[in-house]
């Protein structure tokens, strides 16, 4: 399959200014409905929105859902930002999100026992038998494959932490302070050049890749969009705040080691320039802090304060590992077959 560079219409501009990309092309009836509608002003969307594919990774469902959520992030060039709270669009978002979540919930295994929530989160991580992209990259990957992974992850990492800000008003006390402590780090401790999304954009720019949000949206398969949509979804409703905290905790608990391997893989491929590697080196140290803050001060303290949501915290952790496992299998299986893991 084809390589990972931006397509010719997405030329990289010299100045790092926040620019919006246009809408992607549709991949099926649901995404076509949205892409067509969003090109015009806000108006009522048709009532039915059902995916015929597997809601866990259907490209059409997940592109449509991603578009719905994206209107509440950076948005798209040429799309009226008032779409963000158009009731009929929110209804489509809710329908598609619930289909995804129902399918995901039906695929989760039993919850492990343990002394407390941090202990049980460790057990969930230990029970995960998904392949590791970070290990594959360190041992086998070519430069093209590293660039592919950067493309996949750009969908979230160029807006890293933005979904989670929404959850803060739903928390009180220690878990809230812990989430603020983590988010403050994600946003560079108040320094724009240290914001993690900016470090990621600088990495892409330095490698000659397109650093604009959603520049690569046409290349991302459903299994990639599902990872971002799960985060957005769990940040969309107060009822799911426990699951979001479990999702974030396991993200942080597994991140340092993965980023250490990414950084080592980049150095092995002689891509260790400071501006390329900074994002990954930063995450080794930052996420070592976030690891324990998220597990104990955030998820653990939340489950003690709201014990009726302790199980939800653990389910959120399982959901994360399920979608990340599906993503990792897709990527590694594609590469093992000598193919690209991106859409053509």
């Amino acid at each position: 399959m084809t390589p990972t560079k931006a397509n010719p219409s997405n030329t990289v501009t010299a100045e790092p200014e926040p620019v919006r990309c246009g809408l992607p092309g549709p991949v099926g009836p649901l995404s076509a409905l949205l892409v067509d509608a969003l090109a015009g002003g806000p108006r009522g969307l048709p009532g039915e929105a059902t995916s015929l594919g597997n809601p866990l990774d259907d490209a059409d469902l997940h592109l449509a859902l991603y578009l719905c959520f994206e209107l509440n992030y950076h948005g798209f060039a040429g799309v009226d930002s008032d779409w963000a709270d158009e009731p009929s669009l929110l209804r489509v978002r809710r329908l598609l999100g619930e289909q995804f979540l129902a399918a995901l919930t039906g695929n989760l295994g039993p919850l492990p026992d343990g002394a407390d929530v941090p202990d049980r989160l460790e057990a969930i991580i230990a029970a995960d038998d998904s392949p590791s992209i970070a290990t594959y990259l360190l041992q086998h990957a070519t430069e093209e494959q590293v660039r592919e992974l950067l493309v996949h992850r750009s969908a979230y990492l160029l807006k890293e932490a933005d979904p989670h800000v929404r959850v803060l008003p739903w928390l009180r006390g220690r878990p809230k302070a812990a989430l603020v402590e983590i988010l403050a780090d994600e946003y560079g401790g108040g320094r724009a050049e240290r914001m993690h999304a900016e470090l990621y954009a600088r990495c892409l720019r330095t490698l000659g890749m397109d650093w604009r949000e959603n520049a690569y949206l046409d290349r991302l398969p459903g299994v990639t969009l599902a990872t971002v949509n799960l985060t957005s979804l769990l940040c969309a409703r107060p009822r799911w705040r426990g699951a979001l905290l479990g999702h974030l905790a396991v993200t942080e608990m597994t991140s340092s080691e993965a980023n250490r391997r990414y950084a080592a893989a980049l150095r092995r491929l002689h891509l260790g320039q400071r501006d390329v590697i900074a994002y990954f080196d930063e995450h080794v140290l930052a996420d070592a802090v976030h690891d324990v803050v998220a597990a104990h001060d955030m998820a653990g303290a939340f489950a003690r304060a709201e014990p009726q949501l302790a199980e939800s915290v653990l389910r959120g952790a399982q959901m994360l590992l399920h979608v990340e496992g599906a993503f990792a299998r897709h990527v590694i299986n594609s590469w093992a077959a000598g193919a690209s893991s991106l859409r053509g």
């Binding site: 402590e181 108040g190 991140s255 080691e257 080794v284 070592a288 802090v289």
Partner: protein, 84 residues
Amino acid sequence: MTEDQGGAETVITLYRDGPLLVRGNFRIAQPDGTTIDASRATVALCRCGGSRTRPFCDGTHRLIGFRATCGPEGRRRQDDSDEG
């Protein structure tokens, strides 16, 4: 939030099976007084000895199965049955 915590006290927190977190107003120095740049308001200091980024934690404690309590060890009160 910045590194300047407005003169707040320094708090070192022990995390079970994990690192020591330092928050507040602090500076990390080598014996000759040279400052080690922490680059963040809260730092995690390696407690297992296995980190490849010492003095900072890099998550290695999880890989090597490091075990430690989050309370004082070695001088336990007789009624303290907590075992790490």
